[in-house]
């Protein structure tokens, strides 16, 4: 068949090979044959969970688990925020740090449901503090998720200290994540702190995309010299 075409025909084929597919693409889109991408239909913000402790003057283990079990017709699981310990620095308070673990475990109710992405954001008004996601293999694990973006150790707009965003791998029906983070305070022991952590989960329920937001808050009351 190729030999039958002469030079002019090939020019026509060359032009048509661009014009026809691109024309069809535009036509399919304009006529609605190719559907529009979806947007988030509903956002549900859950009740914030708070915990407060007085700033110690020594190393203290808390192992405080803030757990929110969640369930609806499409999705069930838990949002965990764990305050592991507080470590006092010898460096006049400026290296004091709190170890935290973020944990998430979600499963879809049926095979049509999948988790699109999850995002964790940390905010604190106090300028000097920083938040770091630990990078060694024992400090994090995620299943059916792929890391999209991770930013930490900075003081961004709207007091954003760190965030991490992960995308669901191949439309997963269940996802799991835990990640150890260090909250370095960079302040004297008398200084108060208040860290807000927000878990955001976007999932597809078979017909539409929904988002769940779970806020956590940890407050540290500045200590008085013992």
């Amino acid at each position: 068949m190729l030999k039958v075409l002469n030079g002019n025909n090939w020019k026509a084929v060359l032009l048509l090979s661009i014009v026809v597919p691109v024309g069809l693409l535009a036509t399919f889109k304009l006529t609605g044959l190719l559907g529009e991408p979806a947007t988030i239909a509903e956002t549900i913000t859950l009740e914030p969970v708070e915990w407060e402790f007085e700033r110690p003057y020594s190393y203290v283990v808390f192992d405080k688990l803030l757990r929110v079990p969640y369930s609806n017709n499409y999705l069930s699981g838990t949002f965990d925020f764990i305050v592991i310990d507080y470590a006092e620095s010898v460096n006049v308070g400026f290296g004091d740090r709190v170890t935290l673990i973020i944990r998430l475990n979600l499963t879809g109710a049926n095979s049509d449901v999948f988790i699109e992405n999850v995002c964790f954001c940390f905010h604190e008004i106090y300028q000097g503090s920083r938040l770091y996601f630990q990078r060694s293999n024992v400090d994090f694990q995620f299943i059916n998720l792929s890391l999209a973006e991770i930013v930490d150790g900075f003081n961004g707009e709207n007091n954003l200290k760190a965030f991490i965003s992960l995308a669901g791998l191949n439309h997963p029906n269940n996802v799991y994540l835990h990640w150890t983070t260090l909250w370095t305070l960079h302040s004297l022991n008398t200084q108060d702190h208040e860290l807000s952590a927000t878990y955001e989960v976007t999932y597809y329920n078979g017909t539409a995309y929904n988002k769940i937001i779970q806020p956590f808050k940890v407050q540290i009351k500045g200590g008085t010299k013992p």
């Binding site: 190729l2 030079g7 090939w10 020019k11 084929v13 060359l14 090979s17 661009i18 026809v20 597919p21 691109v22 069809l24 693409l25 535009a26 399919f28 889109k29 304009l30 190719l34 559907g35 529009e36 991408p37 979806a38 947007t39 988030i40 999948f114 699109e116 992405n117 439309h171 976007t202 597809y204 995309y209």
Partner: protein, 225 residues
Amino acid sequence: MLFYDVVDRCHGLYENFINCVAFYIRGCEILVTELFKFVCDRWKVFALFNLLFFGCVLTVVVLAGFTFPPPLYNGWSPSVPEVFLGGGWPVMFLGIFLFNLCVSAFVVVTLPGIVLFPLSAVFLLYRAVLWGFLLNALPTWPFLAVLPTVVLEGEGYVFSAAVGTVVGASWIKPDWVFKDGELSRIDAFKRALKEGLRGYVFVAVLLLVAAVVETATIMFLSTLP
């Protein structure tokens, strides 16, 4: 006397100007002829690659649209590496052009083809599949706005794949590429390389225009909610 001097000088300047314009036009003519010579010699390869590339984009968009759940659209964000350069539109334009020419066209598409000629087509199709999925995730207006960039940039990659295939095939099977006489592998490769360089000027011109259009499109889409 002074009047005639001025007229004479003006006439001289006019002649120089006309000569310059004629020289410029002749230069452009030679350039365009040289560029199109490569295209004219390889019509079949270009037509086939165009059909493969744009056909594959169309197929992936349609299949993805009917097979997978609708993708989530979170608003426009230019999530391609060459756009994250900062420094305003001139830097963005330059970044897009250089990245597309050096990395996307030469390193990714042409170079593998020179080593093993079918690889150019494989990487071209891989890009078509990626673009298909990206296009599927766009609402109508951004979709239509990016189509000119898709055509121009896609055409640039089609040409770079053709160059890679021709140069790559020349040293494996010289008679596939050059029908006019028996050429040794080395000679065929040298000749194909020379031809490919001419073709790459065409790729550069296409990607330059594509970069202008892409920069304008990104700036336009950034204004959308």
